[in-house]
Amino acid sequence: MNSRGIWLSYLLGIGLLHVILLSIPFASVPVVWTLTNVIHNLCMYLLLHLVKGTPFETPDQSKARFCTYWEQMDYGVQFTASRKFLTITPIVLYILTSFYTKYDQDHFVVNTVSLMTVLIPKLPQLHGVR
């Protein structure tokens, strides 16, 4: 997550997801934003907080095998730039989504629950907690 261009690619990926959803003719703008938020948070939860280990062999005698991607990032050091970036992005997306759904209650509940699923595992107190 520190290599060059990965943050830009990630933001472009969110933008691309939103454009794809926006191009669904019968979907309204609030629904599209909520879908963007929920799909993004779902993918983030799966890739960063559910899948454990590495998709290739590592020379560390599989020490990383029981750690999620989020726990392996930056060798477990907390509050690094990448961690801050990956924590702030869902929050910004959530704020945008709330705005575009005109703070409708149903959307608000769905988006808030979805945001919590990606914010709570990022807390330093939950590092390595199962």
């Binding site: 454009v19 794809i20 926006l22 191009s23 669904i24 003719p25």
Partner: protein, 39 residues
């Protein structure tokens, strides 16, 4: 050739390329249609 190299379709099987290209074309078609309706 450049397109399949840059998108890494070069490494996929023909049927996977077909899936990818049909998704791409349908999304592009939907985007054009929605853009047109929106305009």
């Amino acid at each position: 050739y450049q397109y399949i190299l840059v998108t890494a379709l070069y490494m996929l099987k023909p049927w996977e390329r077909t899936i990818f290209n049909s998704i791409l074309i349908s999304v592009a078609g939907m985007a054009v249609y929605t853009g047109y309706v929106f305009m």
